[in-house]
């Protein structure tokens, strides 16, 4: 039962762009319009008007008079307006200009001798270059080489006025001149006269797009409101008719020319309402009309809005919230959404019973329910309580049943902005109560999501092919290693890192009950042998999650360098030494992915996530004011540090004033002072962080979470308990504001640390008003910068995407673009996939020169 049309799809192989000839426009025109109106008083389309039924229909119930189709089936048909006087197409004016200038005004030949043309043709130029050479060459020609006629100077005043030695040329003249150019000459220049003759750019007949291109809408009041294009076309026809009657009445030439110009204006704005030098056509309300060019152009135009980006059904959007219990392969979908989204199922002899059950089940029973059935003749019916029995009986192979989402269905999950291919991944549905999408915290990094109100979208693939592709290529576990750098991008974050760290500590031991609890969470029901007397160490728990064949030695940031504690060692799947922090966990994940595959890595991430969550719940990791309060001694030391730096800066200022300051090479004295002060004041941060680490101790929670990469940095700690230190605007100490001073609380030209934005206070003590203003200055700068940065980098990415999107690796590992041209002989110089290379704990490969070859 396979429909042939479904297998042998039709493909468009090429699209050709040409000019319409007047004959062509007349030929395809279903109706010649002669009434500058649309509907009559009864609301019925006027014959010969702009809603003529021969151009297609937009009202339900009516039938097209050309093809007999209804609103749904009629594709629409063009009409035409016979222009009584020709008019120049504004968009083609530059082309007309080019032809007028490079051909003889008398005989219509190209203003070059045959030899010259052959010379140009013989040279190695592209077509565009050839045409521009012809233009520049013919510009200089004073007399036609063929008929010796003198050439007058021709000017184009945009959009559509041509001048010949200051005299305005009428479109008829322009058209006659273009018509004189011979087909052979056009071919010589590389144009195809069969498809585009230059005089066709001077319109004698105007095509009128079908009604369904410019549908009118009925307002609530029952009034009809016409499309912008219809408005414009009505005006064109009206002026055209006025011009005609004036000509027939033998009106003076002046009046005729005025009307002609008006006709030209209307046609110009019909094509492009943003032409330079002419006022845009407006509604009565003063709003500018959106005409043809505006419909296509820009971000909201047809190309980028409707053609490059397509609207879809079968998608949903809601807020996301975390769920530490579901697998990273899953996403929690609210019941309400799952009920609304459907998947079509083809009924076959093998699943007909199942399908019947789906039709008969009711929603309250918490079963998967079918919502619609479609019979082979295309009739789609909603299943209701009243007709379900009947439909279930009728059901046969070949029908289609649309059923609600159920656990295990594959859906695509996405967060905007999609900067990555990991911004859309396939998850398996897990239907949960509540109204938010539940996201496992470990998949947060690739989406760059957090739970402060972020919303995300899901899309339900509707075909078997789509589902298979999503599952084999886009599933979360396949994306653990990022193709960007070859390292893990999915893995424990924030509290999970802290939890894992606590688990890996030497002093962490669990009783049998605790160990069983933890392991059960990860779905492990085997208990290892107790390794610390009768208790279980955290490392033993971790080891249960690791694959048995894993061997690894990684240097981690925790602990003294070189000591056994700083090295995470895993032997045959047993963790022997070291503490886990962000980097080493990620290395372990990378190693598992490489040696045991993506599924094993997924299981590890799921397991470690659940256990770590439980561990941090039990052990705790909290901070209090005490964690940020320095000892008296520490406070004194910080104060000393700041004071010393201040003194040092004052010394520099003294030296600067006495001109005894030693000038740094290539800098003026003032620049030297500035750079020396910046350095002294900048160094405070480093010195202070060392000092704080000593004073607060290595056990300090704030420092610990910074060090293991769970959250925050040492700078955050120094700013809270030490000093906020130097504020910077435009890479300099604060200097803008009042004359020679950033704030009026200082003397002019005061260069000392405090007067130039150095903040001595910390966030714990609070800032004084002056410091508060200083901080606001640099804070504002960084906010503005962020806003600019996102816009700029977004545009850069769009450009790169557009330039590189056609590049693809072929079967021989060459990289080629859309036209088949080779861009790289072997991808990346070695044909290797970034995702698949072993890169554990190893820095980037050095920049390569020419690609190495085997």
């Amino acid at each position: 039962m396979i429909d042939e049309n479904e297998v042998f799809e039709k493909y468009i192989s090429k699209i050709k762009f040409t000019l319409f000839s007047p004959e062509m426009i007349r030929k395809m025109s279903a109706v010649k319009l002669f009434v500058p109106d649309t509907y009559n008083d009864d609301g019925y389309p006027i014959e010969g008007g702009f809603a003529d039924l021969r151009m297609g229909v937009i009202d339900p119930g009516l039938r097209c008079k050309t093809c007999g189709g209804t609103v749904r089936t009629c594709p629409g048909h063009f009409g035409s307006i016979e222009l009584i006087r020709p008019v120049i197409h504004p968009e083609f004016a530059p082309m007309i200009y080019m032809f007028l200038r490079s051909t003889c005004q008398t005989c219509g030949r190209v203003l070059l001798t045959g030899e010259e043309i052959n010379e140009i043709k013989g040279s190695l130029m592209t077509r565009d270059e050839m045409i521009s050479t012809v233009i520049t060459r013919t510009k200089k020609v004073k007399n036609c080489p063929h008929c010796q006629a003198e050439q007058k100077e021709i000017k184009l005043e945009r959009p559509t006025s041509f001048y010949e030695d200051e005299r305005l040329m009428l479109p008829t003249e322009v058209r006659d001149r273009l018509a004189k150019i011979s087909d052979d000459d056009l071919r010589e220049l590389g144009f195809d006269p069969e498809y585009s003759r230059p005089e066709w750019a001077v319109l004698t007949v105007l095509p009128v797009p079908p009604v369904n291109v410019r549908p009118s809408i009925t307002l609530e009041s029952g009034e009809r409101s016409e499309d912008n294009l219809t408005h414009k076309l009505v005006e064109v026809l009206r002026i055209n008719q006025r011009l005609e009657s004036n000509i027939n009445a033998g009106a003076p030439q002046l009046i005729i020319e005025d009307l002609w110009e008006l006709l030209q204006y209307h046609v110009t704005t019909y094509f492009n309402n943003e032409s330079p030098n002419i006022p845009p056509a407006t509604h009565r309300s003063g709003m500018t009309l959106k005409t043809l060019a505006q419909r296509l152009k820009g971000k909201e135009g047809r190309f980028r809005y409707n053609l490059s980006g397509k609207r879809v059904n079968f998608s949903a959007r809601t807020v996301v919230s975390p769920d530490g219990c579901i697998s990273i392969n899953e996403v929690g979908v609210p019941k309400q959404i799952a009920n609304e989204l459907t998947i079509p199922i083809k009924v076959t002899d093998w699943n007909i019973e199942e399908c019947k059950k789906m039709i008969l089940s009711n929603e309250s029973a918490n079963n998967v329910t079918a919502v619609y059935v479609t019979s082979p003749n295309g009739r789609r019916r909603k299943i209701t309580d009243t007709n379900k029995e009947e439909l279930a009986n009728e059901l046969a192979a070949g029908w289609t049943v649309e059923r609600q989402l159920k656990d295990g269905d594959v859906v695509l999950f996405n967060r905007y902005p999609s900067l990555h291919r990991m911004s859309i991944m396939a998850h398996k549905v897990k239907i949960l109560s509540g109204k938010t999408f539940r996201v496992p915290p470990s998949v947060t990094p690739p989406y760059n999501a957090d739970f402060d109100g972020d919303e995300m979208n899901i899309h339900v693939p509707q075909k078997e092919e789509a589902r298979a592709e999503a599952e084999t290529l886009m599933l979360v576990e396949k994306q653990i290693i990022s193709p960007q750098h070859g390292h893990a991008i999915i893995g424990p974050t924030e509290d999970h890192i802290t939890g894992t760290y606590l688990l890996s500590l030497d002093e962490t031991v669990f009783t049998k009950e605790e160990a069983m609890d933890l392991l059960a969470l990860a779905g492990i029901y085997e208990l290892p042998k107790p390794d610390v007397k009768d208790k279980y160490s955290g490392k033993a728990i971790i080891s249960q999650l690791l694959p048995k064949n894993l061997n690894l030695r990684i240097e981690s940031k925790i602990g003294k360098k070189g000591s056994s504690k700083s090295i995470v060692e895993i032997k045959d799947g047993k963790m022997i030494s070291g503490y886990f922090e962000k980097k080493s966990i990620h290395s372990v994940i990378e190693a598992i992915t490489l040696y045991n595959g993506n599924e094993a890595a997924r299981k590890f991430i799921d397991g470690i996530g659940r256990i770590a969550g439980e561990v941090i719940t039990r052990k705790g990791m909290t901070v209090s004011m005490k964690d940020y309060t320095l000892s008296e001694n520490g406070k004194k030391k910080v104060k000393e540090l700041v004071e010393n730096a201040e003194k040092q800066v004052n010394v520099y200022i003294m030296q600067y004033k006495n001109k005894t300051l030693e000038r740094e090479p290539g800098k003026s004295l003032k620049e030297t002072l500035e750079s020396k002060s910046v350095k002294t004041l900048g160094d405070i941060r480093n010195d202070m962080s060392k000092l704080l680490e000593e004073d607060l101790g290595q056990e300090n929670k704030a420092i610990v979470i910074a060090k293991i990469g769970a959250r925050g940095s040492i700078i955050n700690v120094t700013q809270m308990s030490g000093a906020i230190a130097q504020q910077v605007v435009r890479e300099k100490r604060l200097h803008r504001g009042y004359r020679y001073r950033p704030l009026s609380h200082f003397k002019q030209k005061d260069l000392s640390a405090v007067a130039r934005g150095f903040i001595k206070s910390n966030f714990l003590e609070g800032l004084n008003p002056i410091e508060y203003f200083f901080q606001s200055m640099s804070a504002r700068e960084s906010i503005v910068n962020t806003a600019i940065r996102t816009a700029r980098s977004g545009y850069m990415q769009r450009r790169m995407m557009n330039a590189l999107q056609d590049l693809v690796v072929k079967e021989d590992y060459t990289v080629r673009d859309g036209s088949g041209r080779i861009v790289q002989v072997i991808y990346g110089g070695d044909g290797k996939d970034t995702m698949k290379i072993k890169k554990i704990n190893e820095e980037l490969t050095a920049p390569v020169g020419l690609p190495e070859r085997e």
């Binding site: 193709p483 750098h485 940065r789 330039a803």
Partner: protein, 341 residues
């Protein structure tokens, strides 16, 4: 064992059909949002050189001149003594007339008075007569020169005022000494402890005329200059190096393959082509792809005039008309004959 190695090798090869262009654009574009706008002080360089996102955009745009060109001049001899290197740096440094002289214009008399700073030229070891000669060589036929000691008076004959100001500016930028365009050279050590000169401005052509300069190791951040001097392959490597270092400074980890692909795409044409409407995107063979990117109407109009054909081989075109794209699984053409009973 060899079989195993072979299998391993095959396992890590890239999958044919992979849309590596998109991958590259993603991988370089995504970290863009994280990068700082801040300019960065390269060790030794006096002026702030753009890094991070602005620099990245500069490279991708294939700008004729970078905002702040910088040259790294290595020397043939590995001097131990900093003095020697400093001497060379001094020789290279460009001195303009305005650096050593003060100008005053007399618009009524149409005269320009140039007062040369004696101390300054003594410090820079330039002799006065040489400067005067250089000034004289620049004078047009209508200008006379009088000079006495450190004062030089230029007398013009009824020169229009605007021209006079123009002429003053020209004289201010008169090249006196050093290499054109090179300013503020600084002597620093590189990571191997070797002395090198880092200077603003870029003019390798003239720099290589110096005997001490090692042309095989000295470089610039001006990609177009490298292209003009050494050709397209060097330009490609320059793009790779520049991108790589900017990424590294920002601590952004992007695989070298992506950078290489971008550099290759920018240089396949045989010249350095920018990424954007005037470069790679503007040169695409497909009308629809160009129209969908930027300047929609222009591309459609030109296509009609020239009777262009769109063969629908790229990604955008096929999305526009609703067909499978020629990438990945869309590339595989597999049909199965269905046997009917």
């Amino acid at each position: 064992m060899t079989r195993n190695v072979d299998k391993d090798k095959k396992d890590i090869m890239i999958t044919p059909g992979e849309g590596v262009g998109i991958l590259t654009a993603h991988s370089i574009g995504e970290p863009g949002t994280q990068m700082t706008m801040r300019t960065f002080h390269l060790p030794g360089v006096v002026e702030a050189v753009p890094t991070g996102l602005p620099r990245l955009i500069e490279i991708v745009d294939a700008k004729k001149k970078p905002k702040k060109p910088v040259v790294m001049i290595y020397l043939k001899e590995k001097y131990k003594d900093m003095k020697k290197v400093e001497e060379i740096a001094e020789k290279i440094d460009e001195v303009l007339l305005k650096d050593v002289a003060k100008f005053s214009e007399d618009f009524r008399k149409r005269q320009i008075l140039i007062r040369i700073d004696k101390d300054e030229i003594r410090q820079l070891k330039i002799d006065l007569i040489g400067i005067k000669k250089k000034i004289k060589a620049e004078l047009g036929p209508n200008i006379k020169m009088k000079h006495k000691g450190e004062k030089v008076l230029l007398i013009t004959k009824d020169m229009p005022l605007r021209m006079l100001r123009k002429f003053t500016n020209k004289m201010k930028n008169l090249h006196i000494k050093g290499v054109k365009g090179i300013n503020k050279p600084v002597v620093t050590k590189d990571e191997n402890g070797e002395w090198l000169i880092v200077a603003g401005g870029s003019n390798l052509t003239d720099l290589f005329k110096f005997e001490d300069v090692d042309p095989s190791r000295s470089t610039t951040n001006d990609i177009m200059e490298i292209y003009n001097l050494f050709g397209i392959e060097a330009a490609r490597n320059a793009i790779v190096n520049e991108m790589y270092t900017t990424m590294k400074i920002q601590k952004v980890n992007v695989d070298i393959r992506h950078i290489c692909l971008l550099a290759d795409a920018m240089t396949v044409e045989g010249e350095v082509v920018s990424v954007g409407r005037h470069g790679l995107s503007g040169r695409k063979p497909s009308v629809l792809a160009r129209a969908a990117f930027e300047e929609t109407v222009k591309h459609l109009v030109n296509a009609a005039i020239n009777g262009e054909e769109d063969r629908l081989r790229g990604v955008t075109e096929n999305i526009l008309i609703g067909q499978p794209v020629p990438l990945g699984t869309g590339l595989v053409k597999l049909t199965m004959k269905h046997e009917t009973k």
